[in-house]
Symmetry: C4
Subunit: 124 residues, 4 copies
């Protein structure tokens, strides 16, 4: 399929709740960058994480195969370092081919879950 999207995306909001309620992993509090690579070439992705009071973390590297989606949980990042919980952060997602990025959080600190989602900000 003809590619769709941009090569640089930003998510200004990031916060991994430090606790969860309910069965893991579906109901574990998490923060996700959903990436769509609709085109016919592999996407090589680099994520950089920004904080309020220290230098950025990264690069975190991923591959999204052609005509595939990959939903990356920030909770699971650990190379080069994990993202601390209960801490404000932001992220930039860069790709060598056009992709689309959407940001979603499931917060299950309470028994009743809450959801948020927004398209990231895309740029070239």
């Amino acid at each position: 399929m003809k590619p769709i999207g941009k090569r640089r995306w930003a998510i200004a909001e990031g916060y991994i709740p430090g606790s969860s309620t309910g069965p893991a992993p579906a109901m574990t509090s998490h923060e996700t960058a959903c990436i769509l690579n609709a085109g016919d070439d592999e996407a090589n992705i680099v994520i950089t994480i920004f904080f309020s009071d220290r230098a950025p973390a990264g690069p975190y590297r991923f591959v999204v195969p052609p005509r595939c989606t990959r939903h990356i949980r920030f909770n699971n990042l650990d190379d080069p370092e994990p993202i601390p919980t209960d801490t404000d952060y932001a992220s930039v997602i860069e790709s060598d081919v056009p992709i689309v990025v959407q940001h979603t959080r499931l917060d299950s600190r309470q028994a009743e879950l809450a959801l948020l989602s927004t398209m990231a900000y895309g740029s070239d």
Copy 2:
């Protein structure tokens, strides 16, 4: 009315919860692509679904009449195949005239529902 929108849209996030609480169909967990065709010509829509580990599904075909909206539940897609529940997916929505696409999920896996919504990413 003068048309508004774009001809290609992407939703990077997709996930149909496998269970629900409350009276169907209003409270059934669902994932929706809301399409507005504000213009004076019929919109012929093709939806393609992308996964993390298999080839895309589709095409799913719809018509949205002129000056009308249609809220398509991904749960209800079945031709050429249904979308599995509890599975990450993404979608591209293509039209022959300008449309606007918004993505909404109602999650009623727990007794207390949760909602998310975002404009899709539009491109020409």
Copy 3:
């Protein structure tokens, strides 16, 4: 202030829940178009409502004073006609000066409220 925004906006998703829980009006289920007119000229707004199976409703007319915001509840529209509850709709918001439009829903059909919000799709 220098104006910011576009003159035409679309919200593809619309649905006014038919019931509510909790004290009115704060906790009444509602669907809102939040309009910001940051510029120095009055904004004359026309809203048109689109349905899945009938001709559009409207025009609904509003004024947003210069350097002001107005949060319009779709529930409260009644001239030329009210919007039915439990019905899918979409909307186009047009202005004679640049504005910014954001869409929010508070759903209190259950005791526990749910919220969604997204920027509308802007165009000129």
Copy 4:
């Protein structure tokens, strides 16, 4: 890193719930502008708040260091004046370098929290 974003952003929706449930400050009802300054120059930020029936409030001034994020809670603004609770408002965020702005609300008026988030509207 190469900067990403725009210099002017608008959030048309604003509302600080007047009450909260749960431990402060994590579960205090709040409304946040999350700002990412991915570039190598300090960002000097000016926020202006718009109301439905009075002149704008501000300027509220902030600095976001290079390669940092700052999550500003509207609840905490107090210079030149606090933002009243239970009141509709909107905001414009201006910067001297490109930034990305995302809007989030946590509503804990009820025991069960609700979340919303959206990218703000960016312009140059």
